[in-house]
Chain length 309, copies 4
């Protein structure tokens, strides 16, 4: 039975968030700017399966996952190759740098700091099994479905836009190629990486993955989808690195390990309680949805959902 008090909290949360008008729709992927900047939505899925939504949550709004999809890449590779192997391909340290920083990789590399940064995710993308882009895409589709409980589709326009404007990611990839952190053909690796970022989901669909993580890898039915250890590792990475150089401030503010994406999604985990997806395309210069953060802070504080208590 649904809890109407909680529904009211969510409704008020969205209402308050709408007062924020700072931030901008990310412009470096031109296709992203086509979305209405007033969209504001939240979905909470309890670990018992109950789903609450508020705001612009109807099923017509598909939003690309962008960097929140890095969770899927990390999860798939841990499940298939094990943590020891994966954390040779990328370290697991917060870097203090922005999402696409090259400087640190050049000075302190060659291995990227963590899988939540572009560099780390590009390194991981080079290890997606398969010899062809088709095979890589299939692998991604498999893990998207596993993590979100439903098949997701690529937004081809965003994909094309990513590919057209991805010069900084090319720079990162060639730097890692030059230091032998990645092998293979850079264009093919980036093709997989750009596909990864271009999957799209509704806010409701998006809440399933953080719910899985909040539930130690189990579906609400009790069925094991991800191993407990995979869930642990992923939430650890979200806690320290999920919002780039705003991760520490975010954890102080909300107490909810999370992963942001420049499209305006934030996926957040309230351990043992719920998965939360918030969305609003107005992001700050660190790529964090400002209304999204406000909503998470409200929910965490009202519900006393800080991970530590």
């Amino acid at each position: 039975m649904k809890n109407s008090a909680f529904q009211k909290i969510l409704d008020e949360t969205v209402e308050q968030a709408r007062h924020i008008s700072t931030g901008n729709v990310a412009s470096y992927i031109p296709e992203l700017t086509e979305i209405s900047d007033s969209l504001t939505a939240v979905c909470v899925q309890m670990t018992d399966g109950e789903i609450y939504t508020s705001g612009d949550c109807d099923d017509s709004h598909y939003i690309t996952l962008q960097s929140t999809a890095k969770l899927v890449l990390l999860i798939g590779l841990i499940e298939e190759f094990g943590e020891e192997q994966v954390f040779k391909w990328t370290k697991s340290e917060p870097s203090g740098d922005d999402f696409a920083s090259i400087a640190r990789l050049d000075q302190f590399g060659p291995v990227p700091s963590n899988p939540m940064l572009n560099a780390g995710a590009i390194s991981l993308s080079s290890h997606i099994p398969g010899d062809t882009t088709e095979a890589h895409l299939k692998w991604l589709e498999y893990w998207m479905e596993k993590c979100f409980g439903t098949p997701l589709k690529i937004n081809q326009k965003v994909f094309a836009s990513e590919r057209r404007t991805g010069d900084r990611n090319r720079s990162l990839a060639y730097l890692m190629k030059s230091t032998r952190v990645i092998e293979g053909i850079v264009d093919e690796i980036l093709e997989a990486y750009f596909y990864l970022c271009s999957f799209e989901a509704t806010v409701k669909q998006a809440a399933y993955l953080p719910m899985l993580l909040a539930n130690a890898g189990l579906a609400p039915s009790g069925e094991r989808i991800l191993s407990r250890r995979t869930a642990e590792l992923t939430v650890s990475m979200m806690a320290t690195c999920g919002l780039y150089n705003e991760s520490g401030e975010h954890l102080v503010r909300t107490g909810l390990p999370a992963k942001s994406g420049v499209s305006g999604f934030i996926l957040a985990v309230a351990p043992k309680k719920a998965g939360i997806a918030v969305f609003s395309p107005l992001v700050n210069y660190k790529g964090t949805s400002l209304r999204g953060e406000k909503m998470l802070a409200n929910i965490a504080s009202t519900m006393e959902w800080h991970f530590a208590i």
Copy 2:
């Protein structure tokens, strides 16, 4: 009633940890090198008050808190000045840098990245209430007693050693003075900071603070010692910044928000379950006790105490 199975786990944990012989006793504070490097100890205090110890835990071994004392400074100031104020004096971001890094402060400062770094703790030390070193010391004693449930004493030899060898901290302090992040007399501020690091505790005493944090600020009796919010904020800071540039790796490894000190202490929080103090003076170049980390990883994995599950 004590749980003998858990006692056995702790005993085995200490036994396994003793096999590690890498690491060195930190030498930059000469006084620290006088301790026997074979000492290895753990104390777990459950949130219900039950206490378990194993290894070299007898009450004759007093060890200086070093950087683990930064928790007390942060807690005292949050309790007295509020989070908004405190996080103007220091940011809350992991920096990717080592404990005494000056470079980032110079390039991206002037406000220090977080209160777990020397720079952040020195900035906070400048806000300890009181006009005299005596007053500062009294304030520290008050909060030590509050956080550890018993009065702690200064190790005067270590204090003298810190003061004699603290040139890097002086460099940090004068840099912050030059950018007006700190005001007042540098020598007096550092006096307070060196006192902070020189309090000493037994391993058993040390476990009380992480237990408090694991229990949302309540003593086992139910008495509120720290506000819930203070506990939340402190554990958030431990999760992202507690082991400097090993914080991310630590959280992946153990799932236990923690704070390390160069003397060989690590204080770790298993939310809602227990506070843990581990000790062994053999530290790596990042200042982390190697046997300590091994013990925490063992306990976390055996007890399934990852914060996310």
Copy 3:
């Protein structure tokens, strides 16, 4: 009439340099490693046209110019576009960093520090006139002939090798593309840049350009080849930036503004007196020919050729 005392100085200089056996043939361009590492040669061309050689200077040894060719690129563009324009495409500051540093470009860019670094030369390469690689190549051939007084040819094997192993340069180029410092197609720009580095010359041919610069742009005949201002600017750049993060040490050591190349060439200017080309493929990790530096230091000190006196 030739000066036999000077010839003797050169012969002794080569002899002494041969005692140095440290350094390595640069391996990151595999084709470069095919050269005999014992080759050691010097050619001095006086501003009156007189030419002196010593060591392995016969005309069968063609060596690729590598980064010494950056001088030609800078000269050609200054002559055609003027200094004001060229120093918008690249700054003119020594950076303290190595030849292929990306970190600083990312942190303090977007415009490269100076035209002697790879980043600066890649930026300049994007402004070589012409729409096709053929046109770019023709432009390079024109300016090579102008600067060396004779047509130079491309070493196709080295070119292929550069192109195959140029991932770090690709990283630099894509980073500058992403910040709009360069426009156009990265592969075509790099094609021109790799051609630039792959021209080859004998040591005797190589001494002509520094002689021109030492003579304020005039051929020994008195014919003006380069404008006085172009010569001034180029020698200024050599003085502060010609040996990357060894430029300052080099100027202290020799007093001769110079440009090094990883193949083992150093071209050095003794203002009003002579141009010097030294060659030996054993380079240090900064890409400086060790025997080459020794020879320059000997000549400068024996001849009292420091630029300041």
Copy 4:
């Protein structure tokens, strides 16, 4: 016999420079702001001894040398300890950083990049012979008189101001103390350093040192004041490092190796021809006198005094 055409060039040079009104009087040493910001002056001393002045050059204006005094420190130590020793105390590389940069020292140190930076000059200050501040002061007075041909005095107000506001220099010094680059008592070393910067001279007096350097260490009378090698080394350091992170741009602009000071002095060397002192207190954020640079560029271009031709 004086050259009236040259006098006219200087007069026009000052006139043109007066049109520049950008820049600010350096404020971080409060005492410096007491000077009239309209003062603009130039003095050129030919290597034959002839002296030309223009602008506000009368003998009532004493200006502190600030960083131009670092030349005297370098010269005195080279003369007494030899180049090999001095360049162990500081490297000789341009750093790409500003005058008081700490970041690079922390990341790439411990030895400072060059003696023209504060860090390098503080390191050198620790090697001024003598056990007392009186002895250090006497040493400085001796070398000031040697380098400027006349005794110079300390501006006590500026000295007090430097000492009061020198926290960044303290930070540098303690950092170098912590890495054992400097030994001894930081306060005493800085005392010597602050004295060094507080000597004052008229513009006319200031031109003597660059004239000496332009004349390979000889007084116009032919008397040897400094060794030829000391002159060479000093001019080399001025060429690559004399204006901090504007050194490269300056050498492109003027072709005159120089040293700037935040008081508004620039001392410049036209090898074999003349020493130049320019002064105007309006400096840019890199500490370079803007009118000063304009005057040097004018003189260099009109007189064809680029070091390379």
